[in-house]
Symmetry: C2
Amino acid sequence: MIETTNRVDEMSQFLKLLSDGTRLEILRRLHVREHCVCDFVEMFDISQPAVSRHLKLLRQSQIILERRERQWIYFRLNPDHPQHDLLLTILTSMEPLPVPAPKSC
Amino acid sequence: MIETTNRVDEMSQFLKLLSDGTRLEILRRLHVREHCVCDFVEMFDISQPAVSRHLKLLRQSQIILERRERQWIYFRLNPDHPQHDLLLTILTSMEPLPVPAPKSC
DNA sequence: TCTTTATATAACGATTGTATTATATAACGT
DNA sequence: ACGTTATATAATACAATCGTTATATAAAGA
């Protein structure tokens, strides 16, 4: 019996992070532009702590980066993530986002 | 609040199937050649029913196809699956498999 | 027909993932 | 200093996932 190699483990871990609809939608939006937490809170029908937790998972794995500006924390994709190219392939293989929404908070 | 679109749901469902190390390793092997269930049973350190269950999930989603030959059931990748190209991109973005193992059962 | 081999299904338990509510922290504006 | 807004964390509940063992089915061979 083989033990699953690190390479496979890394990939499956990465894909697990993308395998949640909310996180995938978050990443899709971040592919377009930076967003703050509150953008996502009003975008999804889940609580603010739930959004915060999703963002934490993505941030901990370095898929996204954050910067604070005044009272907001803005997130963006991390172009230096080892799987960044694959992420873009996945994101662009979905339908493009409907409409560029104007910023609100 | 937006509801996550079908497209995102489909993709996240697909990625969920790939986000398990055992299933990813199975797909990696099927990318090389057909395998029967018993190949995987001796390959992994999990029970035969566990292997069978992973294969069922992949088959139900049409990612893999099966054919019966005598007492064996052989699985292969489904080249007509909507996400087949993406699957190949993911598989080839991992390290290639070490050694072509000889068939055993 | 009986045994063996290959595979699938059922029942169940442990672990993990994702939501909620309540509460804490940090920055801003008055 | 205080209230408001933006975000994070803790505690908890529930659902999904993945393993196991026990058992069923299907084909092969004696």
